[in-house]
Symmetry: C2
Subunit: 282 residues, 2 copies
């Protein structure tokens, strides 16, 4: 480990005054009198296009709500998108504890507009000091750094307000910024306005890249609807930008599934996100 000295026995803690973008402010997530209930106004700033909530922002709101309500850092979340939330909906995001032990809290987070469920999520939070640590499996190839990569090129009408707030660079692709995949694998650099904080919710926003990978893999302008966004957090770390290592795993019967390994520029694995989506002709 070589870094245990300054760490609390419970392992990592949610970051309070950490460097990088303040994620609750970034999302526009608002506290209420009930610490387990937060409000997420769906503004253009968190939409991915056509006034629809960006999936990664939905997952991030789940993460922030669960971390702030429980006081523990998130380690796993799966968020299902049930009904599209669109501007100007206001989502009531509610955290419910299913079990809370000495180290770990498990719960559900539900997002409702009026009484209608738009997000349904499962979450686990809490870590502990234990020396078994490491990262394994495919590492990214040598790639040019973010500043040497072209800004990702997207169809403008699908860009949405969120896309204007995150810096995305095509690390595998054409010189004009179109992301390309080889054997279903594609790479992007992504960052937030004030850098990437050591926060699971930041990784949730940036790690929502499976649909990008699907488009790069099929080289076709497919319509995709996310079923879920899921995240497994290894250890968040503040950094200038993250490398999204996107692997589309398989597609059949109108669905595509993919996995994203989220890396620091110096090759630390921060998280693994994954997603299933419905694909169809646009």
């Amino acid at each position: 480990m070589g870094e245990a000295a300054a760490r609390h026995d419970d392992g990592r803690q949610p970051e309070a005054d950490a460097p990088g973008t303040d994620m609750a402010a970034f999302l526009g997530l608002e506290a209420t009198a009930d610490p387990a209930l937060w409000r997420l106004p769906v503004t253009e700033d968190i939409c991915g296009g056509r006034g629809a909530l960006y999936g990664g922002c939905g997952l991030a709101a789940v993460v922030e709500t669960a971390e702030r309500a429980s006081g523990r850092p998130l380690t796993w979340a799966a968020c299902q998108f049930v009904e599209g939330a669109t501007t100007p909906d206001v989502i009531e995001v509610h955290f419910e504890v299913l079990t809370a032990g000495r180290r770990v809290t498990q719960g559900r987070v539900t997002g409702r507009v009026g009484g209608r469920v738009v997000l349904a999520a499962l979450v686990a939070l809490g870590t502990r000091e234990f020396p078994a640590r490491g990262q394994w499996g495919p590492v990214p190839p040598s790639l040019p750094p973010p500043h040497a990569c072209t800004t990702r090129r997207m169809n403008e009408q699908r860009r949405g307000g969120l896309r204007l707030r995150i810096d995305e660079r095509a690390a595998s692709g054409d010189p004009d910024g179109v992301v390309r995949a080889s054997d279903g694998r594609s790479f992007l650099w992504a960052s937030l306005p004030d850098g990437v904080p050591a926060s699971a919710s930041a990784l949730a926003v940036l790690g929502d890249a499976v649909s990008t990978g699907v488009a790069a893999t099929f080289e076709d302008d497919l319509r995709a609807r996310s079923i879920d966004n899921s995240i497994r957090v290894v250890r968040p770390q503040a950094c200038e930008a993250v490398l999204l290592d996107v692997q589309v795993d398989g597609a059949a019967d109108g669905l595509a599934h993919g996995t994203v390994r989220v890396w620091t520029p110096d090759g630390q694995l921060l998280a693994v996100t994954s997603q299933s989506g419905l694909v169809g002709p646009r």
Copy 2:
């Protein structure tokens, strides 16, 4: 695609009289008067050791309940294990529709013992005819077939009743059947008594292999407690055995995360399962 001829417009259907093990019977899942409510008596037959429900059997019960209640094939499920269910608990497994469209049903499945939640799951079901199809990413190396591999060797006291009913062979490991990993990746063949049916629930049972991969990676007798079992279904297929291609992705702060690609013997990707677990000294 080259196989569309005999298929219904909705894509694959849940299998009724398919070859291979009947999964509801295998699990001992019992119908009730309410089609959305099933009963799962926790018997030694579905336990992984020390009288505790095997995670893959919990996920499989969720899958079977959702498929039977909705009449649609499962494509994604994430199942959180909240409290340990042990013999002789009887779990009431309840499917709740959150939204049901022309093609896709999304819902929640909750397992309770008495009033206590022991399983909390999210599910999506339903497919459609669409030509975009494929599989991408790392393929398994050339490995000996199941019959040429040694039966997996486990510590007997942790074997449990379920382990006696599934045939597991170490495809990467020592000649005595101990599974070994290289760069966090290990391989097992796994099968059910009457072969593997074309069923998501069979893949849920067999695909619960991350803890095996963690033990193989750390080469240590660690205690592991599953937080969740999740599955993304590409397309189930009946086969003699499945190859479990287990990749431990990362571990830190008392948690380990891993991914399993589930393959047919001839290299078709059936599903991707994943899991997070708490690890600690035994």
